[in-house]
Amino acid sequence: MSAKKIFAKAYIWILLIVLYSPIVFIAVCSFTEAKSLGNWTGFSLNLYKSLFTGGMQNSNALLSAVYNTLLIALIASIVATILGTIAAIGIFNLKGRKKQAIQFLNNIPMINPDIITGVSLFLLFVFLHISQGYLTVILAHITFCTPYVVLNVLPKLSQMNPNVYEAALDLGATPFQALRKVMIPALRPGMISGFILSFTMSLDDFAVTFFTRGTIGLDTLSTFIYTDARKGGLTPELRPLMTIIFLIILAVLLFINIRSSKNTQESK
């Protein structure tokens, strides 16, 4: 092997190690009982046990944080998918400069740092006298998820034959039937990827949630971990929780990748 090849191989391995070692570290540490992270006191499944049986001190708070996270992510990404799809259809049918302007406006929230989005939403809700809690967190999540759905649906629209919608009308479909029976099936792949992206964006959001959750003690996983870590170290049961979340996400990603590679093979 030439030096060049060795370097190329080493590079990719170093990169992978840097990227994945923290996750592997947490996963390994989830199989020991040591209170402080990094100590190894022998293999044990006790942390997993106490996570599921509620043996830890604030397990109720943790469970409700997980529940909140999932519920907020689900509602926000469903609403964002609907809003984003409708918006994409609207933007697609605009012409010239108007279209460019709206697409530009759609891109800004994605580039905008989360912290700024969070603070400005916080100020907006205060200004409008909306008491902060579930509603404001969900509204905030819809706000930053929708542009991603728009971005995923727009290319599907330009791939679509422009006459397909008219063909449905021509064959006797009302505009709503044409939307449901022809447009939505054609846009579905874009809507699904927009939904998944929104769901994960919402899952791991911290900054926006932190500023819009108000003072009623609403916690999502990210804010819970943040508060928990500030109160004298991470609760040990979070290690198995993170490991499980990582494994679920890995499984979902693998599933999607395998399915899409199968699809491209079939269409060939």
Binding site: N163, A168, D170, G172
Partner: protein, 462 residues
């Protein structure tokens, strides 16, 4: 004609897109069971018209009647018409069967009836056994058949076809033309067909509507349109032709290419300028005694069935001739044109006329530019008509050097010169006779000498 024979009637239809007129005062009717073709170059408004009949566009003015009832205001899904789109527009997520059954299912047709009708139309388009196929696995021609099947399964009163064969290759197109014609006979449905392909239109249609720049140029049977074009646009667009400047000497006598000919046309007055069309297959090689004029062969190309020759006449005009016999370049030939084969057309215009405004006593503004000329008889601000002969307009390579500029949009060869149509950015048209060779879409500067600009007081001036 019996009123109930008209299935569709279009009255005073006009449409503009962002201020630009696409259709202007269109009037026509379509008979029940007819195969009618809207024919014209791209941008002539034919597709716009079809889309208005289908209901995808609303007319600005005028009305469209279906069996005497106004269609405006009826949304497309309630019109008993079906469309075959240019790029098929099949539903990619449905298989062949579900594509065809789409309309029937929406109408809540019983399943057995759907099965029967889908099978029948599949047979009609020779696509039986394809029911379960994914539409994206079909070839272009097959997809087009499914698109036709999907439309006719609903038994529409009128079938609208928007350049349905444009995306197919030549061989496939020829086959489909024959099939379409047979389908039309078998089904008895009225077809409205849009195409820019004159040969397709001649092959398929009962009636052809030739359109250009948003106006109907001529309506007639294929033979009428081919043999008796009403103006030089139609003559040039349909088939090959020699279009020449001529003078009507008196009834049944016309002069062109420097010779007098007998013809069958009357009512053009005496000594009036006219356009003359002679089809290349209607110029005959004859013996010297029978000849009307002589010419020298310039080029000769074999075209499969006939030879296509270009000849220079004794008076310096170029003619295209098609004949089964070949004459080699350089040969002196004797030619004759029969009276029946000479088509005389009124000239649409004999000079350019523009609306202008006097700026000062030596400047007039028209075509978006300031032209020098003698305007001393007028005071500044006067509205005038500006007249310029076709051959007095100079075209310049550099658009900056002219008083105004424009694009070459239409070129007609008239035997010894080119007749060009130039469109200025504001959409005004300038007609120019020139010996120089320009290409379509060339940007040209427009220059006119002061002595060639003639002013006339505009009528209806305050």
């Amino acid at each position: 004609m019996n009123e109930t024979d008209k299935i569709i009637e279009v009255r005073h239809l006009s449409k503009s897109f962002s201020g630009k007129k696409v259709l202007e005062d269109i009037n026509l009717y379509i008979r029940r069971g007819e195969f009618l073709t809207l024919l014209g170059p791209s941008g002539c408004g034919k597709t716009t018209m079809l889309r208005m009949i289908a209901g995808f566009l609303q007319p600005d003015e005028g009305s469209i009647l279906l069996e005497g009832k106004e269609l405006a205001g009826t949304p497309p899904h309630l019109r008993p018409l079906n469309t075959v789109f240019q790029r098929y527009a099949l539903f990619p997520h449905l298989d062949v069967y579900d594509n065809i059954a789409f309309g029937l299912k929406l109408k809540k047709t019983p399943q057995e009836e759907i099965d029967k009708r889908v099978r029948r139309v599949l047979k009609l388009v020779s696509m039986s056994d394809y029911e379960d196929r994914d539409v994206e696995t079909l070839s272009g021609g097959q997809q087009q058949r499914i698109a036709i099947a999907r439309a006719i399964v609903n038994q529409p009163k009128v079938l609208l076809l928007d350049e349905p064969l444009a995306a197919l290759d030549l061989k496939m197109r020829k086959d489909m033309q024959i099939e379409l014609k047979e389908m039309h006979k078998k089904l008895g449905i009225t077809f409205i067909y849009v195409t820019h392909d004159q040969e397709e239109a001649l092959t398929l249609s009962d009636t052809i509507v030739v359109m250009n720049e948003g106006r109907i140029q001529q309506i007639g049977t294929p033979t009428d349109i081919y043999n008796e074009p009403v103006n030089s646009f139609v003559a040039d667009f349909i088939g090959e032709s020699n279009i020449l400047n001529g003078t009507m000497i008196c009834d049944r006598k016309v002069s062109f290419i420097g010779h007098d000919f007998d013809c069958v046309d009357e009512g053009f007055g005496e000594d009036n300028p006219v356009d003359v069309v002679v089809r290349p297959e209607d110029i005959y090689f004859v013996d010297k005694e029978k000849a009307q004029f002589s010419a020298k062969v310039k080029s000769c190309v074999f075209k499969g069935v006939h030879y296509e020759m270009f000849v220079d006449t004794d008076t310096g005009n170029e003619l295209m001739i098609q004949d089964y016999d070949a004459f080699q370049p350089g040969t002196e030939v004797w030619l004759r044109i029969e009276p029946d084969d000479i088509q005389v057309m009124r000239k649409e215009r004999t000079q350019n006329t523009f609306d202008g405004e006097v700026i000062d006593n030596e400047t007039v503004r028209f075509l978006g530019g300031d032209f020098k000329c003698d305007a001393s008889a007028y005071s500044s601000g006067d509205k005038v008509k500006v007249e310029v002969p076709f051959d007095k307009v100079d075209l310049l390579d550099n658009e900056e050097e002219g008083e105004s500029y424009g694009n070459v949009i239409f070129i007609l060869y008239k035997g010894d010169h080119y007749h060009l149509t130039i469109a200025t950015p504001e959409g005004e048209k300038v007609w120019v006779d020139t010996n120089d060779i320009w290409d379509k879409n060339d940007q040209v500067g427009i220059h006119i000498l002061p002595e060639d600009i003639h002013l006339r007081k505009a009528e209806g001036n305050e």
